[in-house]
């Protein structure tokens, strides 16, 4: 489903964030992307959402070469992907319901579907009673669960989570991890970028380790966070 061939990325200040990355991720996998800050995890995710265009190499998702997408096609790529960020990236001017609904609206869903699906998903992530709250009226854990609800609402084929537990305490962290595992069981590919060793070791699935912009280790089964 995802194929990266010889991907290299250089930032404007000549910093080489990714160096010759080769990677293949199959449908339904749960991949933990680990490594210290600055290893290139976030850059790699940005390549997949086409926030960044690789300077070299090919990134292919579902047979589509991302370099060939023009600006108008990018939204269609992103609708196949659900994204969860450390800083949540919620729309502060919209309440919980509207935040989730927005992701459906952009796909052209009808009001009827929105009014049916959004409450269902809010209840799955445990936010039924917060539907009318704005992000600033919610706790960190609640915001992250809301972000996950938004990422899931349009039934994406894969979820990219960039340090989703970075701002959360232990209890909330495990809630989120459990949620991601459950989503994965239902068939959605998950790529989780994190530097939280305990989280990675608990999950025990494929682990890709990165350092200085390179993949240094790829453990397919029962992966551990090893430095």
């Amino acid at each position: 489903m995802i194929k990266l061939k010889h991907i290299s990325t250089i930032y404007e200040d000549d910093f080489m964030a990714l160096k010759d990355i080769n990677l293949e991720i199959k449908h339904g996998e749960f991949v933990s992307l680990v490594g210290p800050s600055g290893a290139g995890k976030s850059t790699l995710l940005k390549i997949l959402t086409r926030e960044l265009l690789a300077n070299d190499g090919e990134a292919i998702i579902d047979g589509v070469n991302l370099a060939e997408l023009d600006s108008d096609d990018i939204p269609f790529l992103r609708r196949k992907i659900g994204t969860v960020y450390q800083d949540f990236k919620l729309l502060s001017a919209k309440n919980a319901f509207e935040n989730v609904a927005f992701a459906m609206e952009v796909c052209g869903a009808s009001d009827e579907d929105i009014n049916k699906d959004v409450p269902k998903l809010l209840s799955i992530v445990g936010l039924s009673d917060k539907a009318n709250n704005f992000p600033h009226q919610m706790s960190g854990g609640e915001k992250q669960r809301l972000a996950i609800a938004r990422a899931l609402i349009h039934r994406p084929k894969m979820i990219l989570a960039d340090e989703p537990t970075g701002n959360l305490d232990m209890v909330n962290t495990y809630d989120i991890v459990k949620l991601l595992l459950k989503i994965n069981e239902l068939g959605t590919t998950i790529i989780l970028a994190t530097h939280n060793r305990e989280v990675v070791n608990t999950i025990g699935k494929r682990v890709i380790s990165m350092e200085m912009g390179k993949i240094v280790r790829d453990q397919i089964v029962q992966g551990k966070y090893i430095i």
Binding site: P75, F76, L91
Partner: protein, 304 residues
């Protein structure tokens, strides 16, 4: 989802944005109101200066004096020629008798002149034509036309040569008022447009993150942009409403005072008889400014 639903939704989103950012919305609307008031003020000034220029130009004419022995028929031939000339606005004939009458009236209080006139056996004054030009700049051409006329021999003198300095002075003043008025209006309008643009840009900059998030969630450019354009046009429409509420009473108050300064000019009359055009013009300016500023400001955040 059909187009009507989509449109309703976009407008609803725009209105929700406007309400939720109420402080910012009120501020932006306020700035736009000031800008529109400035436009309305410029239009008033433009109207007044045009009226002043018109009344000045109306006072400028040239007179053609005919030889005392020329007959009315001969003068009429020239008058007809002049009336057929496109440069001429109007020609008034003043006969010898009329000229004498006017002269007597003018000097009614001067016994010496009255006595002198009484002693004359015949009317010493000349018949004349008073000419007003469509464009006072073209008096020279009218004079040339007269000089080359086949009835030139009936003409005694043309007072353009005596009044040339005055005429060109009036011309330079009216041209100055027009040109400088236009330049100042354009400059102020430009400043007003930049102020509006910057205010809206700041309003949208404030929502930079939101716009980028919408892009990341998979929103198409139009889906993201449309509510902001609606919001921009709402600023415009509200600003027009506030402008009208302020402007018309002010015009109503100052118009009589201006009427005293410049007789025959009614600001109220002007703005009431052209009310529909005026309101439409403000709406076009307001909405266009709001929408265009929003569209330009949002562009750079949609690149992600």
């Amino acid at each position: 989802m059909n187009y009507r639903d989509t449109l309703e939704k976009i407008i609803a989103h725009g209105w929700t944005n406007f309400k939720r950012n109420s402080y910012l919305s009120i501020g932006t609307t306020g700035v736009m109101t000031l800008v529109l008031l400035l436009f309305a003020g410029l239009m008033s000034l433009n109207f007044l200066s045009t009226k002043i220029v018109e009344s000045l130009q109306d006072k400028v004419d040239i007179s053609v004096y005919f030889k005392t022995d020329s007959t009315e028929e001969e003068v009429m031939l020239i008058k007809k020629d002049l009336e057929n000339n496109s440069l001429v606005k109007s020609v008034a004939y003043i006969s010898k008798d009329k000229a004498l009458e006017d002269f007597k009236k003018l000097h009614a209080g001067d016994p010496l002149i009255q006595e002198s006139l009484a002693e004359l056996s015949e009317n010493p004054l000349q018949p004349a034509l008073n000419i007003k030009a469509v464009d006072p700049m073209k008096f020279g051409d009218i004079v040339t036309f007269l000089e080359g006329n086949k009835f030139r021999s009936f003409i005694d003198k043309i007072n353009y040569y005596e009044n040339e300095a005055v005429i060109s002075r009036v011309q330079s003043i009216t041209n100055g008022v027009r040109n400088w008025g236009l330049i100042i209006s354009l400059l102020l309008a430009l400043v007003a447009i930049m102020v509006t643009f910057n205010t809206i840009r700041l309003t949208i900059y404030n929502q930079k993150n939101e716009i980028e998030i919408m892009r990341l969630v998979g929103g198409s450019n139009w889906h993201i942009r449309a509510p902001y354009l609606v919001e921009g046009s709402l600023y415009g429409i509200l600003a027009v409403a506030v402008t009208l509420i302020i402007f018309y009473p002010v015009v109503f108050l100052i118009s009589p005072k201006l009427g005293v300064l410049i007789p025959g000019v009614s600001l109220v009359g002007y703005f009431f008889s052209n009310a529909i055009q005026f309101i439409l013009l403000l709406l076009v300016i307001g909405i266009l400014l709001g929408v265009a500023s929003s569209a330009i400001a949002i562009r750079r955040f949609l690149k992600i």
